[in-house]
Symmetry: C2
Subunit: 251 residues, 2 copies
Amino acid sequence: MIQIVPLLGIGEIAPGCDLADELGAAVERQRYAVEAGDILVVTQKIVSKAEGRFVSLRTVSPSERAGKLAAITLKDPRIVELVLRESSDIVRAAPNVLIARHHIGVVLANAGIDRSNLGTPDDETVLLLPADPDASARKLHAALETRWGASPAILVSDSFGRPWRQGVVNVAIGAFGLPSLIDRRGELDRNGRRLEATQIGFADLIASAAGLAMGEGSEGVPAVLVKGAHADAPCNNASSLVRPLAEDLFR
Amino acid sequence: MIQIVPLLGIGEIAPGCDLADELGAAVERQRYAVEAGDILVVTQKIVSKAEGRFVSLRTVSPSERAGKLAAITLKDPRIVELVLRESSDIVRAAPNVLIARHHIGVVLANAGIDRSNLGTPDDETVLLLPADPDASARKLHAALETRWGASPAILVSDSFGRPWRQGVVNVAIGAFGLPSLIDRRGELDRNGRRLEATQIGFADLIASAAGLAMGEGSEGVPAVLVKGAHADAPCNNASSLVRPLAEDLFR
């Protein structure tokens, strides 16, 4: 049986806050002993907040290109400027739609720039993704290992929209200590036939499972412990889930 | 806490098999009382098998269009013919790639036609998706309600590849008795700001969570009970997760 345990009582996270200490205390409050195979899933939002990834729009001067894209997308040119700075590529631009390929490789709306639940009454502040979410996961893992002598695997999650399907789902943008992508190419089925689904987005499955315990509204839970989801495969980080551009059928 | 319970001991499912009886017995073997909010997740494969959705390739005569697509995709022309019959649209065709929009609206490789783990040594047999997976879910729900006086919500899952991301994830192709798509448009965040993620693919989150307990290999578990994943929203079926063509940015 797999258990998905919401970690309650985590307060507002401010820049410079010791996130590992907040998360460690939250796990200890639940009186859960960390066991091998446990995965601690943390929202991008609290990682970004702890890392101080806030930007005041008052400091942003839109380029000419940002101005043109803002006219197409009907968005604030300063937000569009930040999207361009955070991205390697604009995938789609249309009224109220701006989908970008972030420098970390993920494709998502507005390059993940976030204006909701920032914990600030200042409407001119936005929050960027962590600069390197896999590194954020690795650092949290190291800090919790120091605290407990062993750390759960760490996953940094965000919620993405998708082509062809309605509704956002949670995916992994950073990971350490788990097989983000499980590669079963070459394995056979019960009848000796080669398996058709050869690679499994394990970290995305974990992120979605954790998302069930997170909620999206004002009562959001920013961290979740997943227990019992064992995967017998080598560890790799969340960037393994990014499809190489050469294999992207949508270019 | 949310619990994901694999249902063990389900044998090979043959055409005409009473799937509700098999599933009901599997839940009873686990000694789990079904409670409000429980969701029973069942793989597309056993639903299709019970519904007899097998096709012998020996009976399939490829059309001219199938022959041309087979030359592009390097696939068996008879499989391509079945993909065309099952689909309203071919989304991408390239060597070893044939992505189709199935008549039920989902976009997936080979229109979901499956050749692995069919439980038959006959290499010339394939398995189609259920003709109407939402209706399959509704029928299972009715049969379990008759058995127990109350039924868990039912979800029929499959595993899909995705643009831009590596690895398949489990999604919902049929559902009854749960909010497949949660619509929170108009709700506000803690600071009174409109939420940016306004629609949540709840049934896809459930399918992915269940996928963690299913596995993909020879030891696959075809049904999983999800307990404690409450969603306070109106029920709608899995077709709600299909993005309307007019909103599809990839046409």
